[in-house]
């Protein structure tokens, strides 16, 4: 059972579209998959056309039975979703008032993950207790990065946070997202970052109109635009990730 987190401290970098399409690919390749939408904006839930069940709140995430009761089957085989709720915006505060605040959510997520082969966590763009718990639970933390100068700083900040908190930095796997190869800044940044950071995944996701159109179609891009460059890129990313996960499991 593998837990994959999609995290970025910035919004609008392709975090949700990545989580959605990777979860879809995991399920399509035969794994029983659960995608957990932890972002109070609920973009993932929107893509999957689901709403949180009546009783579901932020507090439910801290109780195994209540979390499980909120899980819904998506329109796609083997893919389930634990939808977000607007009350998730107070999740950091909620955790802060509890003992073991840095672990509590992680443990509940691990409990829920038990019935699945893969769990994908779509994280909110904040660096608080929710993020801490996610970093603790995840086997791999994917970090989508738009290849600009500012993005380098974001990765550095994340590294620093990891060091300070004692998390294993090698679990961070940045990858380039929304890449526009005709832009010189993108090309240069990618070259520089690859030279200094071996954790970067080789695959990258291009800026792609079809990926942008996910909000209109409300489906993974691999469903409505299988032949697009975006779809092909996600597939490549997934295959590379599978190889990495297998290698880590062996070590």
């Amino acid at each position: 059972m593998t837990i994959i987190a999609c995290y970025s401290s910035k919004g609008g970098v392709g975090k949700t579209s990545s989580a959605t399409n990777l979860a879809f690919l995991a399920a399509a390749h035969g794994s029983r998959t659960l995608i957990v939408d932890l972002d109070q904006q609920g973009a993932t839930s929107f893509y999957f056309r689901v709403r949180a069940p009546e009783q579901h709140r932020a507090r439910s995430l801290l109780d195994e039975a209540r979390s499980e009761a909120a899980i819904l089957e998506t329109n796609y085989e083997r893919l389930h979703i634990l939808p977000a709720h607007s009350s998730y915006r107070s999740l950091d505060t909620l955790l802060d008032g509890m003992k073991k605040s840095r672990r509590r959510l992680a443990e509940r997520l691990e409990d829920v993950a038990d019935g699945y082969d893969v769990m994908v966590l779509d994280c909110p763009p904040t660096l608080g207790l929710v993020a801490e718990n996610v970093f603790r639970a995840a086997d791999v933390i994917l970090v989508p990065v738009i290849p600009t100068t500012l993005s380098r700083r974001t990765v550095d900040q994340l590294d620093a946070f990891f060091e300070k908190s004692g998390h294993d930095r090698s679990r961070l796997r940045p990858f380039f997202s929304m890449v526009e190869p005709h832009k010189r800044m993108h090309r240069d940044t990618m070259q520089e970052m690859r030279a200094s950071d071996p954790r970067l995944l080789k695959s990258s996701i291009p800026y792609c109109a079809e990926i942008e159109a996910m909000g209109t179609h409300r489906e993974p891009v691999l469903r409505f635009a299988l032949r697009s460059r975006g779809a092909a890129a996600f597939l490549e990313l997934w295959l590379e990730l599978q190889g990495e996960v297998a290698a880590t499991a062996r070590d």
Partner: protein
């Protein structure tokens, strides 16, 4: 992720999707996938073993697969068969399908029982967000273009149980749909007129202690005769060896009953029936013996080193041609007008409301059962005590016969005693019979091989050596078997057994 508890199923005579949409109520949006069609042949044994176990063996063109009897599609296990007619588990190539069949079939063969065209269509029910909240699968069965039945299954989605229940309620209320748990495989069998299960050999009647002896015996006899006869078509078609076996077992039980519980009919009638059924059973003796040898071929061969295997080839080839001849003879008998007429007459005699009575006819069957069991048990002890290590085979054989008689009575009349009352006796009797059986099998094999050596038309030195070697092995095993027999008999000849028979074999005042 589908499990049976979460399925809802209805049957309908309406194939029309409009009817389905209307039955679901207003505001429900149905979207359909593509209709899938498959020509399926359903195979199973005489006893419908697979479907009763929840599996369905189907042939879809050249593909052979086991699926769930429920929906004829889930949990598909594929395999390859080396034959296309009656299939035994060993006719499949090793693999998961062979494993499934080996677990369930035993010595039975499966034959094609029904051929249908299965048309399946999946509908999706979505909410206003475009989220699928339930799936409805419609399966319809067609033969020669004619629709035979239609089944609608509701497949809920996790988290949308409320929506599923609402849909289920609508369908259950709709006049065109009838809730039904029936697996699709049974629908197919019913459409082909193949859904009747055979009569079990153990009569499904409960005897009452105060029933008259004649009433009890007549009912059971009639059942056993019908149970025997239902195997005749299978014997004639030579589907598998179990048909002859079951036919003989039923007739044997019938004859045992008539001989062990005498006096319920006039002596002449009892004698007439016993003679007739004995004759019919004898007609199948040779065929059954040969079947048993041929079934044992693998075991026989594995006891011999490779160098002697060649010698067995000829022997088994001879056995096979003899078996073909024996089958021809049995077929002639079963198909003859005489046999059919006589059997029908006996069936009719046993279904009379008041058959002619004998001296014990009116006695309560409870009392009769106790008396006979005690009598037979005393006989077993008497005969068994006289058997020594040097006793000839006939004496041991006699003991075996007496044990069978007692055993049969205990099983036949089990209903009349409190649960577990006679268990100590039955347990020890079974163990004694096991020991006798082992001894007997060895002796029969030895004798058979000896005869074969004497009467076979062509014998080469290799065959003689092989058969001689086998006889030697069997002879040595006999010594061990005798020892075991002694031990088991003394377990039976014990104070415990005597006590149970004296006291427990009692039926609330009927003893």
């Amino acid at each position: 992720m589908e499990d049976a508890a979460r399925r809802f199923r209805w049957q309908s005579s309406e194939d029309d999707d409009d009817v389905l949409a209307r039955s679901l109520g207003d505001g429900i949006l149905l979207e359909s996938g593509e209709e899938q069609r498959a020509r399926l042949e359903l195979l199973d044994t005489f006893e419908r073993t697979l479907v009763c176990a929840g599996h369905a063996l189907v042939r879809d063109g050249a593909q052979l697969l086991a699926v769930r009897a429920d929906d004829l599609r889930s949990d598909a296990i594929m395999g390859v068969a080396t034959r296309s007619s009656a299939l035994f588990w060993w006719d499949l190539e090793p693999g998961p399908l062979q494993d499934v069949l080996r677990r369930h079939l035993g010595l039975r063969a499966v034959t094609p029982l029904a051929a249908v065209e299965l048309r399946s269509l999946e509908h999706r029910v979505s909410n206003e967000d475009g989220k699928i909240v339930a799936r409805l699968r419609k399966d319809s069965l067609h033969v020669d273009g004619r629709k035979l039945g239609c089944s609608v299954t509701l497949l809920p989605l996790l988290g949308y149980e409320r929506e599923a229940r609402a849909l289920a309620t609508s369908l259950s209320r709709a006049p065109a749909f009838r809730p039904s748990d029936e697996p699709l495989a049974w629908l197919v069998l019913r459409a082909a007129g193949q859904d009747r299960l055979p009569l079990p050999l153990r009569p499904g009647l409960r005897l009452q202690p105060l029933q008259t002896a004649q009433d009890g015996v007549t009912r059971i006899s009639h059942w056993l005769l019908r149970a025997a006869r239902q195997h005749e078509p299978g014997i004639v078609a030579d589907i598998d060896t179990e048909f002859v076996h079951a036919y003989r077992v039923a007739l044997r039980q019938l004859r045992s009953l008539l001989s062990l519980v005498k006096g319920v009919y006039p002596e002449d009638d009892t004698r007439r029936m016993r003679a007739f059924f004995a004759k019919q059973a004898r007609a199948t003796n040779r065929l059954r013996d040969l079947d048993v040898y041929l079934l044992d071929e693998g075991a026989f061969r594995s006891t011999l080193p490779p160098v002697l295997q060649g010698g067995l080839d000829e022997m088994f080839a001879d056995l096979r041609s003899e078996r073909a001849q024996a089958l021809r003879q049995v077929r002639r008998v079963l198909r003859s007008a005489t046999y059919q007429k006589q059997m029908a007459a006996h069936e009719q005699w046993l279904s009379q409301h008041s058959p002619p009575t004998g001296p014990r006819a009116e006695e309560p069957i409870g009392a009769v059962a106790v008396a006979e069991i005690r009598r037979r048990a005393r006989k077993v002890l008497k005969v068994g005590r006289a058997v020594s290590d040097s006793s000839p085979a006939e004496e041991v054989h006699q003991l075996r016969i007496e044990c069978k008689r007692l055993r049969y009575l205990l099983e036949l009349f089990a209903d009349l005693f409190p649960e577990g009352a006679l268990a100590p006796v039955v347990r020890r009797l079974k163990r004694l019979q096991d020991a006798l059986g082992g001894l007997n099998d060895g002796a029969v094999q030895e004798r058979f091989l000896g005869e074969y050596l004497k009467t076979a038309s062509r014998l080469d030195p290799q065959t003689i050596a092989t058969v001689g070697g086998l006889i030697g092995l069997l002879h040595r095993a006999q010594g061990e078997a005798r020892q075991r027999l002694r031990e088991r008999f003394s377990e039976f000849d014990s104070a415990r057994v005597r006590r149970v028979l004296a006291r427990r074999a009692r039926l609330g005042g009927a003893a």
